[in-house]
């Protein structure tokens, strides 16, 4: 009885995921066939006229991946630091309060982060962004992008907001795994005359590395799919090709779909967005699968 119930629920989830994938594929196919340019290598996005569909995923993919990757680069070291502080250095009572606050951060709705990024952080970051651009502009990531730095609607701003949003996920998972470092390992290191930092280096970090990486991957998955916050922050269609700079803008796959959803007036136009959605679906799927694979392959040893 319970066995069939469990099997049924498991099967249901798998079937649901497959159904979503198939739905996306079926809806996207007619548009992809009507497409005048290559979907995977073009960055154009003109979908108003069903008889002249020109759409490619390239620019959207760049902004999506760059924003998420930038957020991850910012969030990973900070999350590691917080997790180490909470599990190894902070007194127990302080650690509990602090961990609670971090978890609260995860409960803030993303629209709030979006508003904050748009109204507060974006403008506040403009001087920093301009400084980076004028002094370190020779470095490709800080060169001129395809949108105005002054507007604030850049990968730079969006990535920082996303970093704050994924920080709680990475921290929570990393903290939990660090807490489970076997006591006899820690004592073994202490008995050899290890300082607190050396104990962390010889036992906590090797033990928790897989959990940290998979937590970061889950954070990355969240960052890739984040919609509303980025919809508010990013400055929308510039029409220009990105310069592969952090000061590029335009839209991510998800924010593009949200932005244009009101204009889905025929199936062929809508199919273009569904094709983009399919790419995002596969991308997050791969990232999450990767996270699972890292966790199991490491802990199975």
């Amino acid at each position: 009885m319970f066995r069939s119930l469990a099997l049924g629920s498991g099967g249901f989830v798998v079937a649901l995921i497959a159904a979503i994938g198939i739905f996306l594929l079926l809806q996207a196919l007619p548009s992809l066939q009507a497409n005048q340019v290559s979907f995977l290598t073009s960055g154009e996005w003109t979908t108003g006229d069903p008889n002249n569909m020109r759409f490619g995923i390239l620019y959207l993919l760049w902004v999506t991946v760059a924003t998420a990757a930038f957020a991850l680069v910012l969030a990973m070291p900070i999350a590691l630091g917080i997790a180490l502080f909470l599990t190894q250095y902070a007194p127990r009572s302080l650690a509990r309060v602090f961990a609670y606050i971090i978890d609260l951060l995860a409960a803030v709705p993303s629209i709030i982060f979006g508003l904050w990024g748009l109204q507060v952080l974006g403008p506040a970051l403009v001087p920093t962004a301009e400084w980076l651009n004028s002094n370190l502009g020779w470095f490709p990531l800080f060169s001129d992008g395809n949108v105005s730095i002054r507007g604030g609607g850049t990968i730079f701003t969006a990535g920082i907001v996303l970093a704050v949003m994924i920080l709680p996920i990475i921290t929570a998972i990393t903290r939990e795994i660090f807490e489970r470092t076997p006591k006899d390992q820690i004592e073994g290191a202490l008995a050899l005359g290890a300082t607190r930092w050396e104990v962390i280096r010889t036992t906590v970090l090797p033990f928790g590395r897989a959990g940290y990486v998979s937590g970061s991957m889950l954070g990355l998955g969240r960052a890739l799919g984040e919609t509303v916050a980025l919809y508010l922050i990013l400055s929308g269609a510039s029409g220009r090709a990105p310069e592969l700079s952090l000061f590029d803008g335009d839209a991510t796959i998800a924010s593009k779909i949200a932005n244009d959803a009101a204009e889905f007036n025929n199936e062929i136009s809508a199919g273009a967005y569904i094709a983009a959605g399919l790419v995002l679906f596969v991308l997050t799927f791969v990232v999450n699968a990767l996270a699972r694979w890292i966790t199991t392959s490491r802990t199975g040893k």
Binding site: Q185, A191, L192, G193, A194
Partner: protein, 258 residues
């Protein structure tokens, strides 16, 4: 190398709980001292207080003194990290570092102390593994993880790791309780050999083991549940097991107790 230990009026507390009361004993250099007694009598706690490992538990504190060749390890300004570098410890459950190779496990302590010279590390590695009677079994797979060894081999690896830093004293907390009889015998033989170079204190639940390996034996007991543990007597092992001066010791040895 091989220093003597003098414990004077040692009281150990965990927060408000008085765990061990008024322990005074001496351990001469190059000898084996066994701590025996029923569970909960504080023998492991006393052992851990000898290299300040009990401080890992929050709220633990100590009154009295533990002198290592006359120097108090609880003296003002003494760093517990330094104490543990000179007083090594082997635990109940073998605990090699699972992500490290056999070789890296052995030299982990030296690395922590800052030794980088590869040749020197290799020499110490071989010497320590030979000292732990493990060299012949692992010399062809020094780069394999230590977790792949058998329990007895892992415990000898931990002993090799402990003696690699040339400690003054080696503490062993029930080192054989997780091992089969053959591995236990190997460790006991090893203890007898290590006695040439180190001062050894071993906690054991196995009275035959205490009788086999130790020169002197300390018997710990407690008055009752919630009462602090205390040292009943310490004497030459042969006397403890044949003609102890305390009735409680004789009862325990002969199995009329706990």
């Amino acid at each position: 190398m091989a220093k003597r230990i003098d414990v004077k009026d040692l009281n150990i507390y965990y927060g408000k709980f008085h765990a061990v009361e008024n322990v005074t004993l001496s351990v001469p250099p190059r000898s084996v001292t066994a701590f025996i007694g029923p569970s909960g009598c504080g023998k492991s706690t006393v052992l851990r207080s000898l290299n300040r490992m009990h401080e890992v538990i929050p709220g633990a504190r100590v009154d009295g003194s533990v002198l290592l060749d006359g120097a108090d390890i609880y003296g003002a300004g003494v760093d517990p990290v330094e104490v543990r570098r000179t007083i090594g410890m082997v635990f109940q459950r073998p605990n090699p570092f699972p992500t490290m190779s056999i070789r890296d496990n052995v030299v982990a302590g030296l690395r922590l102390a800052g030794t980088k010279n590869r040749q020197q590390l290799d020499e110490v590695c071989e010497k320590s593994l030979r000292g732990a009677n493990l060299w012949e079994e692992v010399k062809d797979r020094l780069n394999k993880p230590g977790g792949g060894l058998s329990g007895g081999q892992q415990q000898r690896l931990c002993i090799a790791r402990a003696i690699a830093v040339q400690p003054d004293v080696l503490l062993m907390d029930e080192p054989c309780s997780a091992l089969d009889p053959i591995s236990t015998l190997a460790i006991e033989d090893l203890i007898t050999e290590l006695k040439q170079d180190f001062t050894i204190v071993i906690v054991t639940h196995n009275m035959q083991q205490a009788a086999r390996v130790s020169d002197q034996t300390a018997f710990f007991n407690l008055h009752g549940v919630g009462q602090p543990g205390r040292l009943v007597e310490i004497d030459e092992t042969s006397r403890i097991f044949s003609n102890p001066s305390q009735r409680a010791t004789e009862d325990y040895i002969s199995g009329r107790f706990g």
